[in-house]
Amino acid sequence: MSVLDDLLLFTALASVAIIVVRRFASVSKLSVIVYALATVLLVKMSALGYGGEPIYSSFTLNVLGQNLYWRFDSLSWFFALITVVIALFTSVFMSGAWAEKYCQEHSTEAYGLLQAALVLNVLSMLVLLASGDLLSLFIGWELVSWASFMMMFLNQDKVARKAAIKYIVYAMAAAMSILMAIAMTYSMTGSLDYVQIMQAVAHLSNTQIALLVTLYGVGFGIKMGVIPFHLWQAAAYAETPGPGAVFMGAISARMGLYALIVIVVQIFSLTRVAAIEIPYTFLNMQNILAWVGALTTIIPTYIALKQNDARYLLAWHGVGQGGYMLLGVMIADSIGTAGGIMHVFNYATYQAALFMAVTAVMFRTGTSNFSKLGGLVTQMPLTFMVMVVSIIGLAGIPPMNGFVSKWLVYRALLLDGEPLLFVAAVIGTLGTILSVYKLVHNTFLGQLRLEHQDVKEAPLSMLLPMLGLVLIIFGTGVMPGVVLDWVAAAQNAVGIAPITHNLGGIELAQGGLDMIWVTGVMFYGFAVGAIVFYFLGGKSKHIHQFDNYAGGHFLTSKVRYHYSNHFYAGLMHLIGGWYKDFFKKLEQALVSLVSFLSQLSENFYRSAQPAVLVAAVAFIALWFIMSSFSMPADTGTVAPITQGIQGGLPK
């Protein structure tokens, strides 16, 4: 039994345990213990984070001559660590006061289901991360998809249900694409094992690689929510019950990135991908992927700018931030990939903190609609602090950790000589700054409404994980070397030259980064500012909000004196017309097709359960595609593969 076995087995048993005790109040405590122990197990594997050899699971499966096995390398460990740690924070977050309120509003059953969904998500993600070959990858992939769906489907709200169904349709499409790609890989290389495929890739033609990369890219890209598959994610994550959104928003979509790194970077290798020229353009496959990343930073970020609901705004940013990771990874040099991979960690920390803060606000006020919030800073100062630190991270401003990973991406683009990608990345960052200010302004600053006069600070059980995350955000911002160690090991594992770094950042001949110095100087600056402010100026008096400049008028309580809607109206006069909703219309066409199909199947099954419906629709679609796939490939070699795949299907 290796440590990995321990981990997987433990998590699986824990899942069963949680599902069993889900009706009892102790489930929240149990889950915290489970994730804490899982973290301990991961720490036991910490050698992986510093360049240790992969750890294999002793459990293998033999399906149709293919050996399915599971293993952890440095990259998996890195992702697993993030997953489990975020799950730990989330479970603490949802254990105390939030649990009580949720149980009251819904039921103990619903809360137990949420816990179960969370632990199943963690388990499935660990299985995915541990996958050692394409088939086990696919199994893990499907598990993750359905676990996510379960989580999203917990919210009984109509909008949420719709978003969840939208998600599962996308996920099925992704699964099909991946399945197809796996089948083709098998037909081309005769193996599903990473190492063997890696060797066989050298003999494949460019067209074959391009086809495979496209299929894998679409499949994994859908999970990541890259352009043009960005539409499902925001609504699905935003509508998930609070802690679920925290967890999903922080890490779930990153599984796509993980798989993409494994397949495209590790197996096909980016040099090979870069060699594929797109006819009639100056671009190659790598450029395309990088541009997909760049556009993913821009478009969702600016969609986020228009949102009027805190959760949606954050969820859209989640989509956008994925672009930076993809962009960084696709730069393919040691700095860029380091930036991309490190961003996964940084992003997970601040996104979790942000979702927690927003959930805390919702917990206290019952809304996340910007029009109904404002002025909460005096009531919830610590939550405000958490949000400010996290938005500084999200916006990529020193000294928080988001800056470091973005700096690495910029630096790589600079060294690489990619002006347009660089500008795209910067446009994304600036858009982020704009919308995060909107977030913090409209929730915490401005006029306090009557109904929020007695709002209290978030309860401790919710506050502690937030503060813990804030410490991580700041700590890894000052000492990015801690994370860069793991990142370097992960880079090593996927076959990229690891980044040279030290505790404070990286050293480069042409201008490096030392966050310890940068932070030190910034705090020196703040100290000077504070001295100037507090010692050179006199005493000041705190005044009521009615005592405010209103052109000489008397402000009264009937006046809404708070600017929140159309926050960037001036900018929108210019770019408002650019929101053409092209993607939305495309999607709507597809959705109407699917709903047509689902109605057909409803007639067949007379079932009121949408989940069954969707599954049925999905199954029919899957069967349809499989059969169409096998038709042209009637010539011998493919037939057993389809059998093999069908045999290996998880259901």
Binding site: F535, K539, H542, D547, G552, F554
Partner: protein, 233 residues
């Protein structure tokens, strides 16, 4: 009958500055206060027409360090340019209370002194210093830009010599001013600014800060406590 004359101000009250260095540099600060005066952009009456000439190319107030400012928070000088109708007077008082000390009031035009040519008008308040402590009056209808600038220079000299303390009078004798305001606007007159609280906060209160009128205010007023930042679970 109110009396125009030097307002008896206890300049030493509130002298204990919160800023430890300011005691040493008190004179420097006073000098700078006299050399940098931000006047509020508020045209209360027709005398405001002579301010643009005084500000712009011909007379150029900026060479004396005087420049216009937009909001009462930023400004030091409230120029009451001419008659104040009762409706305006309320705003002027609010604006004055929103300004930050040291603040100065200059009454420009004869109307601010004693009603001027609108002495029989039912709509204009007559004697400005019943409602606000006035530092300098500039009489005339309307005073020429030269006179306005001369008035400003007088104020500058006063400040430099440490005599520009009329603003303290507003805190020290708030009851008197409030009484006059209540007489004109009614007993339930309340501004959102908390003058008594401010006087307490900065140590500017005297016995005359309180009186029957402040008691009337306390009976009527809606307390406007600022939202304190608090951590309450």
């Amino acid at each position: 009958m109110s009396k125009i004359g030097n307002i008896p101000v206890n300049a030493q009250a509130g002298k204990k500055r919160t800023n430890p260095l300011a005691g040493v540099f008190d004179e420097l600060v006073q000098f700078c206060q006299s050399r940098s005066m931000f006047m509020l952009h508020y045209c209360t009456g027709c005398g405001a027409i002579e301010l643009p000439p005084a500000m712009t190319s011909r007379f150029d107030m900026e060479r004396l360090g005087i420049q216009p400012m937009v909001t009462p928070r930023q400004a030091d000088i409230l120029l009451v340019t001419g008659y104040v109708s009762v409706k305006t007077l309320k705003r002027v008082i609010l604006t004055y209370e929103q300004m930050q000390s040291p603040k100065y009031v200059i009454g420009i035009c004869s109307c601010t002194v004693n009603g001027g040519m609108y002495w029989q008008s039912y709509a204009t308040a007559k004697v400005l210093n019943e409602y606000l402590p006035v530092d300098v009056y500039i009489a005339g209808c309307m005073p020429r830009p030269e006179a306005v600038i001369e008035g400003m220079r007088r104020l500058m000299r006063n400040i430099e010599e440490g005599k520009g303390h009329a603003w303290k009078d507003y805190f020290q004798r708030y009851d008197y001013y409030l009484g006059n305001q209540q007489h004109l606007f009614g007993d339930d007159w309340q501004t959102p600014t908390d003058i008594i609280g401010e006087a307490r906060h900065y140590g500017l209160e005297t016995e005359q800060t309180y009186g029957e009128h402040t008691r009337i205010l306390e009976q009527h007023q809606q307390p406007l406590e600022p939202h304190k930042m608090r951590i309450k679970f």
